[in-house]
């Protein structure tokens, strides 16, 4: 059983020193020295902020309250950045809440990633014990389930091979097999079903249903609405760190879909999102706005406005937008330099670039929009893999058969022209038709 009361989690974001999340002692010392000198020079100024940066709290979770009773399987949905992962991290004790409290009754195990702690030099057998212990199984428990795990992963022949020699499929299967044999009273799962090939995914889903069906409490985060539908008996929707809806699975999913469709054709908080590596140091994407907040419709023109800042002069610049399916396959790209000129950008606090296409070819469904600033052919200045979840809506130009069904029609429907006199057999068919 889990009861959360007014849960909040804030991250501090320093705007000047954003490139590294950690601090260098030298900066702290230098900042302190500067502040001390500043105070001597100008006692009226008071204590300065270290290094001149401004620190701001970003609330990844705010006032979240909910209850999960024993045996319930709760699905958590919400777009990227809604706070789902942060919530799971708080519940699994990885990070501490800033406000509020959570009470957890029973042994909780969390599965935020498969294969956590796998060591490439160790063999499959050794990694089963290592990974099992990391996930919270006792040695006796692992020994008892060892054969079952091996059979599930289908890696019998490679048990004594170091996992660095495994194919990626085997690696993932083994990792999931260990995780699937966890038997805690409460299980917290983050989107781990999206691994492996389709057949293995089906097997995983079956295993999860097994777990959920045996009276265990499960919290399940996923973008895959059909797995939420098949696993959960209740669902909660998070939006910008708050609980936006809480209720039956179908109601919540309907709400979630409606929300995805109506709002958020723009986001302006991309500047504050954490980046990987050096992304965002020299130029930074601040926001993306689609069609001046009008819906994005299949078959109609579309317009994207990217706002950005530039810290130091950069050359050979192009802006890119990418559309991916929720399970991560990129299906469409727009690059301002294909065809088109590349830009030289001077430092600016905020500027905008507008990109238009004459027609949206993507079939009506949900996509994840990524945005990038690129220099030259392949050097990325900034990259946000999941800037925005967008929904392409059907329009008057969308054939009814596509507008009604979203699956089974592919990502792009391309208009074609047909000539009906080439193959003789087809000719006959046409004639028969008439």
């Amino acid at each position: 059983m889990i009861r959360a009361d007014g849960l909040g989690k804030a991250y501090m974001i320093g705007h000047a020193v954003e490139r590294d999340r950690y601090v260098a002692l030298r900066d702290v010392l230098a900042g302190a020295a500067r502040a001390a000198i500043g105070r001597i020079r100008d006692p009226a100024r008071g204590p300065g902020v270290s290094g001149g940066e401004s620190i701001e709290a970003f609330w990844a979770l705010k006032d979240v309250s909910f209850e999960v009773r024993r045996g319930e399987v709760l699905g958590i949905v919400g777009r990227n950045g809604a706070g789902k992962s942060t919530l799971l991290k708080v519940l699994s004790r990885i990070t501490e809440p800033t406000r509020g409290r959570v009470e957890i009754r029973g042994r909780l195990a969390s599965l935020l990633e498969v294969g956590t702690g796998f060591h490439p030099e160790l063999t499959g057998r050794e990694n089963i014990f290592l990974n099992g212990a990391i996930l919270g199984m006792t040695r006796a428990e692992i020994r008892r389930k060892f054969d079952e795990i091996v059979a599930f992963a289908e890696v019998e022949k490679f048990l004594d091979t170091p996992v660095k020699r495994y194919s990626s499929g085997m690696y993932v299967r083994l990792a999931f097999a260990v995780a699937a044999h966890l038997e805690p009273e409460i299980l917290v799962v983050d989107e781990v079903l999206s691994v492996g090939d389709a057949e293995f995914q089906k097997k995983c889903l079956g295993k999860m249903q097994d777990v959920a069906g045996h009276g265990r409490t499960v919290l399940f985060v996923s973008h895959n609405l059909s797995s939420v539908r098949s696993l959960c008996n209740r669902a909660t929707m998070l939006d910008r760190g708050r609980v936006a809806y809480n209720g039956g699975v179908e109601d919540t999913l309907a709400n979630y879909l409606a929300e995805m469709k109506t709002t958020h054709m723009a986001c302006d908080d991309l500047g504050a999102r954490p980046r990987e590596g050096h992304f965002g140091e020299r130029g930074r994407i601040l926001g993306v706005k689609i069609n001046s907040d009008q819906a994005l419709a299949h078959g109609l023109p579309a317009e994207f406005e990217i706002s950005y800042s530039v810290q130091s002069p950069i050359e050979g610049i192009a802006f890119s937008l990418g559309f991916s399916t929720p399970d991560g396959a990129k299906v469409m790209c727009i690059d301002t330099d294909i065809p088109g000129p590349r830009f030289r950008l001077r430092p600016t606090k905020q500027s905008k670039v507008r990109v238009s296409i004459d027609r949206m070819h993507l079939a009506p469904t949900e996509y994840i929009l990524s945005a990038a600033i690129r220099s030259g052919d392949n050097f990325l200045i900034d990259y946000i893999p999941d800037a925005l979840s967008v929904t392409v809506m059907p329009s008057a130009k969308t054939p009814a058969v596509i507008a009604l069904r979203t699956t089974g029609h592919g990502g792009v429907r391309y208009p074609c022209s047909t000539e009906v006199n080439v193959p003789a057999s087809l000719n006959d068919a046409v004639r028969n038709d008439q």
Partner: protein, 305 residues
Amino acid sequence: MTMPQLEHGDAGPAGDVMQTHVERAPAAKTAGERVVVLEAGRAESNYWRDLWNYRELFLILAWRDVAVRYKQTAIGVAWAVIRPLTTMVIFTIIFGRLAKLPSEGATPYPILVLAGMLPWFLFSSILGDASSSLIGNANLIGKVYFPRIILPASTAVVALVDLAINLVVLLTLMAFYGFLPGWRIALLPAFIAFAVVASLGPALLTAALNVKYRDFRFIMPFLLQIGLYVSPVGFSSSVVPDGWRLLYSLNPVVGVIDGFRWCLLGGESPLYIPGFVGSCVVAGLLAWLGVAYFRKVERTFADVI
């Protein structure tokens, strides 16, 4: 036919669940269900019991480090031997032959050096490996909960394995010189434990600081190099003038090395009691400070790492 299935407890999912319920239900009744409350700034009331619950993870992480260390190294265990042996030879030549520093009583100089080298390597490898242990396991810290102290602490096990190998080298060398350690060697485990505590104190501090201030990875090798020359590794601490000896012993490594020599050199190296007590006090303070600071900041590791 259901009996053997129930006994084995691996009769598929249904059998498993049956068994876990049977196991846990009585515990839940008597000891009360395990309740965890998460709240900002809440001090973990049963921190040490929690740590005890994670002992298996501690052992398996330690085993991982040991296994990985000796896998895929061409001469494996030999590395643990070559490092102290070469340093021993160099120190014997420089301090014993060139500088002509006195040994302890009748102890052959190489044995004096090696007896100091063992605790020094124990200390420096715990301190060095533990400092980087949190950064090196950042993926674990970000994805799973466990008492974070396990990571730096498990590096001590690797260092102890190396120590065991080095002890064999030392005993071989002593046999070669026909030099017997005597009854005091029975107390060696106590001094090894002292050495581990004395190393873990500063190691916890640097490990925690290293998460926040990455400069520590540059500072550590430098500090360890200074430590090697400041501590009585290549010479006997009795060469320090008497008036300075107590002050010198405030370096906890001095106490550790003196203790090892007292155990191993069979009465040729008398223990300077005030200095040893001083070392113990400093080591104890550092250990307390290390644990206290580590506990204070460990909850934020996942956010900054």
